[in-house]
C-alpha cells in the first residue's frame, strides 16, 4: 500500500513538466552509460527500453482514457444537432431532479448558520392533535426561571409598521427576541452590536433595533453610518444599534425578518393587541417559540425531567385552560433538535417535494431512454467503424470504453447545464410557492450535497445510456465482410433495443400522465365551487386598530364599531367598488370564536364556530341568502334585539326539520362564564361557504353583528368586491385602510384568488409540476417514436419498394407502418397501466393528502393518459408512415 502511494506521489510529481524533463534526461544519460559498458547489440534495442521506461513515469491508463474522451468530444462536435438534442434533454432531466433535491436539501438538511447548530434545541408542546412550538410569553418565563439545565431564549414573529424619515415602509416583519437570543445563537454583528440581556429588562423601555443584513443592504445600501440612526416603529422612536450577520435569517427556514427588536418592546410595537408580556394569566396568545441549549452542568435527561416537573404546581403550570370549561389541556413538553431550524414550510412541503422528486426520476429515465435511442441509432450507423477498428486490432474492452466515454461526454456538460437550470427552477418554484403570503427566502445556491447529487445523477445517467450501445458495440462483427458499408447498415440490427426503449418510455410516460391527471383533477375539484364570484375581484385585508386586542375595555367596542362602519362607507364610495363589508374571519385565515349553544331541553352546552359580519358580507362573498334576510342598520345599533344568521350546515345538524327562522326552533345560546341563556333569534339562513376548510364539509357557523357578539378580540377583516379589477381602486383601498391609524401595522392586502392560491399552494405546485413533467414526457415520446419510425422506414425502404413494385397500395404500406407504431403503443400501455395502478397503490399514503374527490385508481385519469399517449403515437407515426407510402419503387431498389 505504501509503495503504491509512493508511486502515485512520484507520478504526480512527474506531471510537472520540468520534473518530467529532468527524469527523462536522466533515463537518456543512464542508457548512454549502459551502452558504453555493453557489447554492441548485446542488450537489444536500447531505444525501446528507454521508451518503455519513460511510460513508467506516466499514467498509461489515464492517458488512454483521455484519448477516449478527446475522441468522443471530437465525435460530439462532428454531429452538433445530435449533441445539442442529447445534452439538452439530459440537462432538463437531471436539472429537475437537482432542483427538487436542492429545495429538499435547503428545507430539510441545511444546518442553521450559527455556532454549534447541532446542539441547538427547541421546546415543543405535544398535544393530542399534534406537535406545536408556540407558547405564551409567560410559558417562556417559566422555562427560563425553572429549568436550570437549559439556557433558553424566546422569540415571536410580528408584522411591523416602520417609518423611515417620516415615510411609512411597506409591511415589514420583525422578530421580537429575548435577551438570550443572540448569545444563544453565538453570532457576531455585521455592524454595530446585537441585542443582549441588557436589552431585556424594562417593559417598553428598550427602543433599539437590529437590522437584518439583507434589509440593510437593500434599504440602506449597506451604509455603516446607519448605526445610531433614528426610525419610527408603530409611531414610537427607535434607534438602530446594529446589523445581524449576512447568512442569518432567524431560526425559521424560509422566513426573513427585516428587524430584530427586544421582546420587551411588544406593547409598543403591537398597539393593536393586549400587553402580551404582562404577568397576567388571562393572556393566552401562543406567539413565542422557545429555543434552548443544554448548560455545561446540565443534560437532556435532566432538562426533560425538569420540564416534566413544571405541571401541577400553580407557580409553574404552563398548560392552558379551556375558556369555557376551565379544564387544563392535555399536553406534554418535549425537547427536539433545532439544528436545521424550525419550519412550517417543512411540514407543508416535504412530502410533496419527495413525491415530485420521484416523478422527476421518471422524467430522467424517459430522457435517458430517449438519448439512449439516439446514441443507439448512431451506434448502428457506426457499425462499420467499429468493425474496422476491431479488424485493425482494437480490443473489445477498448471499444466499450470508447462508447461509454462518448456517453460521458454528453452527460458531463448536461450535468453542468443542469446545475444552472436547477438553480433557476428552484427559485421559480419558491416564487410560485410564495404567492399570496410573505416572501419565502431560501438559499438554494448549490452546496456540496447538491453538487454531489448532480454529479452522481449525471454519471449514473451517462453510464445508463452508455450501457446499451456499449453492449451493441462489443458485439460488432470483426469479419472483413462487415466492412462493406451498405451491408453493415442493412444487416443485423433488428429493432430490438431501440424498440424496447420506446416501449419503456411509453410505460413510464403513462405512469407520469396518470399522476399528472390525478393532481390536476384534484385541483379542479377543489376549485369547482366558485363559479359565482370572480375571486380576483374580491380584496381581503385584515385590520387590527389600536386596542382591538381588548375590546372589553370601556367604550372600546363602540369606538371600533364606528371605525369599521365609517371605513365601509368610505370604501363603498370608491369607484369600481360593488360592495364592502367586514367579517371576523378572513376567508382562509382565522376561523372566528367559540359560540355556545344549548339544544332544546339539553343541559350540556355545545361549542360551535361564531363569526362577526357587517351587512352585505354575504353579497360581497357571493354567498346567497336562502331564507330570511341579511343584517341591516337596525341590527347594528347598540341595544338592538338579538339577531343571528346561520348557515345551511347549522340548519341541517342543529335544527333538523323545524323552521329555522325566528325562535320557534328552541335552540338557545349560552353566554360563556355564568351569563344567562337566551333564545337564538335566527333572522336569515345562508348557503354554506367553502371557506375556510376547502377540503372539508362545511361546519355549522353562527354569524352575529359586532356589538352583539361576545368575544374579546376586535380585529376584523375587510372584504371588498369590485365590479372590475382596477389597480387604482386597490391602491385607494390600501390608502383608506392605512389612514385609519397610520402608525398601526397594516396587514398585507390580498385578492381572494391569492388567498385561495396560497391555501392550495401544495396542490397547485404538485399539479403544475406534474403537468409540466407530463408534457415534457410527451414531447420526448414524440421525438423517440418519430426517430424509431423514421429509422424503420429508412431500413425497410428496399423492402417497401419491392412491395410497391409487386402491387401493394399506399394504404397497405401505411397500414404496415401503422401496425408497428400501434404495436409499440399497445405493449407500452400493457406495461404502463398496471404499473401506474401498482404505483398508485404503493404510494397511496403519500398521494391521499394531495388528492381531493378521487382515488389513485381514478378511471378518468387513466383514460385521459391513454388517449393522450395514443394521440401522440398517431402524431409521431403519421409523417414516417406517409413518407413510406410515397416511396418510389425505382428509387427504393436503387437504394440497395
Amino acid at each position: 500500500m505504501m509503495s503504491f502511494l509512493m508511486m502515485l506521489w512520484k507520478r504526480l510529481g512527474y506531471l510537472l513538466p520540468w520534473r518530467r524533463r529532468a527524469a527523462e534526461q536522466e533515463i537518456a544519460d543512464e542508457i548512454r552509460s549502459i551502452a558504453a559498458m555493453a557489447q554492441p547489440g548485446e542488450l537489444g534495442s536500447l531505444t525501446l527500453a528507454a521508451e518503455d521506461a519513460r511510460t513508467e513515469l506516466g499514467w498509461t491508463r489515464l492517458e488512454q482514457t483521455g484519448q477516449d474522451l478527446r475522441y468522443a468530444a471530437r465525435a460530439a462536435r462532428k454531429s452538433p444537432g445530435f449533441t445539442v438534442a442529447a445534452v439538452a434533454s439530459l440537462a432538463i432531466g437531471i436539472g429537475v431532479n437537482a432542483a427538487l433535491f436542492s429545495l429538499i436539501n435547503t428545507m430539510l438538511w441545511k444546518s442553521l448558520p450559527i455556532r454549534d447548530p447541532e446542539t441547538l434545541l427547541v421546546i415543543g408542546r405535544q398535544t393530542q392533535t399534534g406537535l406545536s412550538n408556540r407558547f405564551t410569553y409567560g410559558n417562556y418565563e417559566t422555562f427560563r426561571d425553572h429549568v436550570s439545565a437549559l439556557t433558553v431564549a424566546g422569540y415571536g414573529t410580528v408584522p411591523l409598521n416602520v417609518a423611515i424619515d417620516g415615510r411609512i415602509e411597506p409591511t415589514l416583519q420583525g422578530h421580537l427576541v429575548s435577551g438570550g437570543y443572540f448569545p444563544l445563537m453565538g453570532l457576531a454583528p455585521a455592524a454595530g452590536r446585537l441585542l443582549g440581556p441588557d436589552d431585556d429588562r424594562v417593559p417598553s423601555g428598550h427602543a433599539v433595533a437590529v437590522l437584518s443584513y439583507d434589509y440593510w443592504r437593500r434599504r440602506f445600501g449597506a451604509d455603516p453610518a446607519v448605526v445610531g440612526r433614528a426610525i419610527s416603529i408603530s409611531g414610537h422612536p427607535f434607534t438602530i444599534v446594529g446589523v445581524s450577520p449576512a447568512e442569518f435569517f432567524g431560526a425559521e427556514v424560509g422566513s426573513s425578518p427585516q428587524f430584530f427588536l427586544p421582546i420587551m418592546m411588544q406593547p409598543v410595537v403591537m398597539p393593536m393587541t393586549a400587553d402580551l408580556i404582562a404577568r397576567d394569566t388571562n393572556v393566552t396568545s401562543l406567539w413565542i417559540r422557545v429555543l434552548a441549549r443544554v448548560k455545561a452542568d446540565g443534560s437532556i435527561p435532566r432538562a426533560t425531567a425538569q420540564l416534566d416537573a413544571l405541571e401541577g404546581s400553580p407557580e409553574t403550570e404552563w398548560r392552558l385552560r379551556d375558556k369555557f370549561t376551565g379544564q387544563l389541556e392535555q399536553a406534554r413538553l418535549v425537547v427536539g433538535s433545532a439544528a436545521t431550524g424550525l419550519s412550517d414550510l417543512r411540514r407543508q412541503f416535504s412530502q410533496p417535494l419527495f413525491l415530485l422528486l420521484g416523478i422527476a426520476v421518471i422524467v430522467l429515465l424517459i430522457a435517458c431512454a430517449n438519448v439512449g435511442n439516439l446514441v443507439l441509432a448512431r451506434a448502428a450507423a457506426r457499425r462499420a467503424e467499429f468493425a474496422l477498428r476491431l479488424a485493425l486490432g482494437a480490443g473489445r474492452g477498448r471499444l466499450v470504453r470508447q462508447v461509454i466515454a462518448e456517453s460521458l461526454v454528453l452527460a458531463v456538460p448536461a450535468g453542468v447545464a443542469a446545475l444552472a437550470f436547477a438553480y433557476w427552477t428552484a427559485y421559480t418554484l419558491i416564487g410560485y410557492a410564495a404567492i399570496g403570503r410573505d416572501a419565502i427566502v431560501l438559499d438554494v445556491w448549490p452546496d456540496w450535497r447538491v453538487l454531489a447529487f448532480t454529479a452522481i445523477v449525471s454519471a449514473a445517467a451517462g453510464l445508463m445510456l452508455g450501457c446499451v450501445p456499449a453492449i451493441h458495440a462489443s458485439r460488432a462483427d470483426r469479419s472483413v465482410a462487415s466492412l462493406d458499408l451498405a451491408r453493415a447498415r442493412a444487416v443485423g440490427h433488428a429493432p430490438g433495443p431501440g424498440r424496447a426503449l420506446v416501449v419503456l418510455q411509453m410505460a413510464l410516460s403513462l405512469v407520469l400522465l396518470v399522476g399528472a391527471g390525478l393532481f390536476v383533477r384534484s385541483l379542479q375539484n377543489l376549485n369547482r365551487h366558485d363559479a359565482d364570484v370572480d375571486q380576483r375581484r374580491v380584496i381581503v385585508v385584515r385590520i387590527e386598530p389600536r386596542g382591538s386586542g381588548n375590546r372589553h375595555a370601556p367604550g372600546m367596542a363602540t369606538a371600533l364599531d364606528q371605525t369599521y362602519r365609517s371605513l365601509i362607507t368610505q370604501v363603498e364610495a370608491l369607484p369600481g367598488v360593488r360592495s364592502a363589508s367586514f367579517a371576523r374571519s378572513s376567508p382562509l385565515g382565522q376561523t372566528g370564536f367559540g359560540y355556545q349553544i344549548f339544544r332544546p331541553a339539553a343541559a350540556q352546552a355545545e361549542l360551535l364556530t361564531g363569526s362577526i359580519v357587517y351587512p352585505r358580507y354575504f353579497a360581497t362573498m357571493g354567498m346567497p341568502i336562502l331564507a330570511g334576510r341579511d343584517f341591516n342598520e337596525e341590527d347594528l345599533r347598540t341595544g338592538s334585539p338579538s339577531a343571528v344568521i346561520v348557515n345551511e350546515a347549522f340548519v341541517r345538524t342543529v335544527i333538523g326539520g323545524a323552521s329555522p327562522l325566528g325562535t320557534g326552533h328552541g335552540v338557545s345560546e349560552g353566554g360563556g362564564r355564568g351569563a344567562p341563556r337566551r333564545p337564538m333569534n335566527i333572522v336569515g339562513v345562508v348557503k354554506d361557504s367553502r371557506f375556510p376548510a376547502l377540503r372539508e364539509a362545511a361546519r355549522p357557523i353562527v354569524y352575529q353583528t359586532f356589538l352583539q357578539a361576545r368575544t374579546g378580540f376586535g380585529g376584523m377583516t375587510l372584504h371588498v368586491r369590485m365590479s372590475e379589477l382596477r389597480e387604482a381602486t386597490v391602491q385607494q383601498i390600501r390608502a383608506a385602510v392605512q389612514a385609519v391609524q397610520p402608525d398601526v401595522p397594516m396587514f398585507q392586502l390580498h385578492s381572494l384568488a391569492e388567498e385561495v392560491d396560497a391555501a392550495l399552494v401544495r396542490e397547485r405546485l404538485v399539479a403544475t409540476l406534474s403537468g409540466v413533467f407530463g408534457l415534457v414526457a410527451l414531447v420526448l415520446i414524440c421525438v423517440g417514436l418519430y426517430g424509431l419510425m423514421a429509422f424503420a422506414v429508412a431500413r425497410r425502404t428496399a423492402e417497401i419498394g419491392v412491395r410497391v413494385a409487386l402491387g401493394a397500395t399506399p394504404s397497405d404500406i401505411r397500414g404496415l407502418m401503422a401496425r408497428q407504431a400501434i404495436g409499440v403503443l399497445l405493449i407500452g400501455l400493457g406495461i404502463g397501466v398496471p404499473a401506474a395502478w401498482i404505483a398508485g397503490r404503493l404510494a397511496s399514503a403519500q398521494l391521499s393528502p394531495l388528492l381531493f374527490g378521487l382515488t389513485p385508481a381514478d378511471p378518468i385519469s387513466f383514460a385521459m393518459a391513454t388517449v393522450l399517449l395514443a394521440l401522440v403515437t398517431f402524431a409521431a407515426g403519421v409523417v414516417p408512415a406517409l413518407r413510406a407510402a410515397r416511396i418510389d419503387p425505382i428509387i427504393a431498389l436503387r437504394h440497395e
Binding site: 508511486m7 552509460s33 549502459i34 537489444g44 527500453a49 521506461a53 511510460t55 513515469l57
Partner: protein, 111 residues
C-alpha cells in the same frame, strides 16, 4: 525462457541483496546466476528498474564505476528488503504447490 510476470521484480531485488549494482551489472548478474537459462530482455529489465524505483523498493545514485565511468548504481532500500522476504516466501509456496501438482500420479499419461 521468459520469466513469469512479477518474477522479474523478485529477481532484481534478489540480485541486489549482495550489494549495489548498476543496470548493466544487474542484467549480466541475472543471466550468469541463472546459468544463462533465463534470457531476460534488457527491454523488460530496464522499465522494471524504473518501476521498482518509483515504488521505493530500490534507490539509485550516480557513482563512478570500476572502470572509472559514471554509472547509475541501484541499491536495496529497507522497504525493498521487506518486499523481497515476502515475495521469496510467496514464490517458494507457489513452486511447492506447482511441484505437488506435477508429482501427482497421472493415469492417462503414465509414468
Amino acid at each position: 525462457m521468459e520469466p513469469l510476470y512479477g518474477v522479474l521484480d523478485l529477481l532484481v531485488l534478489r540480485t541486489l541483496v549482495f550489494g549495489p549494482l548498476h543496470g548493466y551489472a544487474i542484467a549480466t548478474a541475472i543471466r550468469n546466476s541463472s546459468g544463462e537459462a533465463l534470457n531476460i530482455e534488457f527491454g523488460s529489465l530496464y522499465p522494471a528498474l524504473k518501476r521498482l524505483e518509483l515504488k521505493g523498493w530500490i534507490s539509485a545514485k550516480w557513482e563512478t564505476s570500476e572502470r572509472n565511468r559514471p554509472a547509475r548504481v541501484y541499491r536495496l532500500t529497507a522497504a525493498g528488503r521487506k518486499r523481497l522476504r515476502q515475495e521469496t516466501s510467496e514464490w517458494s509456496d507457489f513452486v511447492r504447490a506447482v511441484g505437488r501438482v506435477l508429482k501427482s500420479p497421472d493415469p492417462e499419461v503414465g509414468q
